[in-house]
Symmetry: C2
Subunit: 382 residues, 2 copies
Amino acid sequence: MRILILGGDGYLGWPTAMHLSKHGHDVAVADNYLKRRLAEEERVPALYPVPELEEKARLWESVSGFKVKVFTGDLQEWDVMTTVFREFDPEAVVHYAEQPSAPYSMLNRKAATLTLHNNLGVTFNLIQAARQFNPEVHIVKLGTMGEYGTPEIDIEEGWIDIEHKGRRDRFLYPRQAGSLYHTTKIMDTDLLWFYVRIWDLQVTDLMQGPVYGMYTCENESLEDLLPFFCYDEIFGTVLNRFVVQAVAGYPLTVYGKGGQTRGYLNIKDTLNCVRLSLEHPPGKGKLRIFNQFTETFSVNDLAAKVSEAAGSLGLNVEIQTINNPRKEKEEHYYNPEHTGLLDLGLQPHYLTDDILLGMLEFVKKHEKSIRKDIIFKGISWT
Amino acid sequence: MRILILGGDGYLGWPTAMHLSKHGHDVAVADNYLKRRLAEEERVPALYPVPELEEKARLWESVSGFKVKVFTGDLQEWDVMTTVFREFDPEAVVHYAEQPSAPYSMLNRKAATLTLHNNLGVTFNLIQAARQFNPEVHIVKLGTMGEYGTPEIDIEEGWIDIEHKGRRDRFLYPRQAGSLYHTTKIMDTDLLWFYVRIWDLQVTDLMQGPVYGMYTCENESLEDLLPFFCYDEIFGTVLNRFVVQAVAGYPLTVYGKGGQTRGYLNIKDTLNCVRLSLEHPPGKGKLRIFNQFTETFSVNDLAAKVSEAAGSLGLNVEIQTINNPRKEKEEHYYNPEHTGLLDLGLQPHYLTDDILLGMLEFVKKHEKSIRKDIIFKGISWT
């Protein structure tokens, strides 16, 4: 299958490119290095440098024999989107090309404006390109479990049957997110759902939880092909960040009561979820939604797990409760469904002690590069 | 109260400005004449010319003694938004500044892109301006009943209590619109609801049905202060358009089965709904939602009513069923709640024969200006 990956330079984009090409697909990636630029502007470097796309594609071809085509440009520009569609003619598109950080979207007005326009602009151009070049193209869009927020009722997989005053109908599950970033993903879903209904597009919307890890089946022995490993407050996901904090001797920063519970997954599972979705398309005129995570943890759970694993390596880890810079429920009901991807054949990689030890040992190799000053800045969301 | 009206040149914007200033409020209007520009580009003129804002403000002051301050500029530009907030310092804002046509939003990619960026860009800048200049400001946002679509269950007023697997929670009523225009209003609601929760903004979101009429209590004897009266497929609302078609001897164009049912209201009621909302603000940290219409009709009902009223004036009106250029249910359940504004004191002006006769006689005075070629173009939505 010819698969185009938008946002192919990112934490998930490049690992997905290698994974799909290893599985026999013809892969192209497109990116404008927005995330790199924002990380530079905010002075929050990743744990180690990562080569740019042309270099990664060259390295990957040299070790695997598979070619990945690279497009560089801003997909908010219609000309860039059309060039990519004309030259590569994708049968499926994986859409990661969004400003991916919730804290960044709450940083200030300019950051918020960039998040809104970038995220919706790319999604909209993708929809329009599908319409113009190939209405059969399967769009696999990365959404987020954060679209649902933390409701008092069970979270279903995208849809809910509502019985109301003696009548029934089926709706998109109600959405209410905790950051502007997450809200742009809700708005993406609104757009995709509308155009699925009106133009019979074919879309899979993956409601993903926070991802952790850096090793995939494709990169384990290839240092230069590892993804970005961010541990700063803006771009670092919580578990990756806690692992760095444990190695650096920086107390694990639990926001508020620490009962915030979310669905997590290993980066290996992200790749398999995306590939399984691509290899089992929903069919025209369908918006299929999967909840993409494998287990739920509270922040306190994660802190305890990291602390324990680090202890077995002789690291003495402190857990510190700090004032929550976000506005969110710190203790809440959370019971999200997640059977769709298991039904497609997903074999989860759970968060075992071995996995945590592997991450800790990996980060220890880069210990000298850790910049403690970027771990917590206290960006206030309110 | 100092009230700023964004989109103050429009069909509802200018009548609202006069109405609020007559009721003792200090009013400013802002507009960039986008709607005029689009109508020119698409060559769909209104029934009669309407003066620009400076001239309307001069005329209104000369007859009423009330000053309305005029700002001209594109509110998507942050500098324009900040100038308006700095110079006028509003206590409340009525936000009409959106590309208002569903067919226009489905015309082509460029029109769709403009609709998306304009509508969300202005809403977003307004939210950011409220945050920066006056977080207490009451935002009265014009939404649309079209956000709800035509579900199989009763439509509540913005919110719904859902009982699911033995637990309960309250959510935004599920939304699924029939055009990109309507979808941008859903996305506006997503944005406003997020920032109400995170920044305690104060918002009233008015889910308005299609409006008809041209006379208000402020303009009845003042020809130059009447609003735009559009009757073309793009910018004309259905009842205004049918009245013109009846006068022009152009068959009333019913799309498909004509069972499409919506909630309608007289322009006089729009003004009262907006004023009542402004004079009874919801309080900080609240998103209040009203369903703003007074009665429901199917398209067949409207065609029959116009035909009958026109018959009593000696006009022989044909009703013609044509292939539906839209994608929508042509027969459906429709039972929307609408008590919130009645509880605030709204006294509805229903669609009586007298009202229809008044509209027909008004349009007859402009009969020679009617351009039959713009009534139906058959813009396909699919």
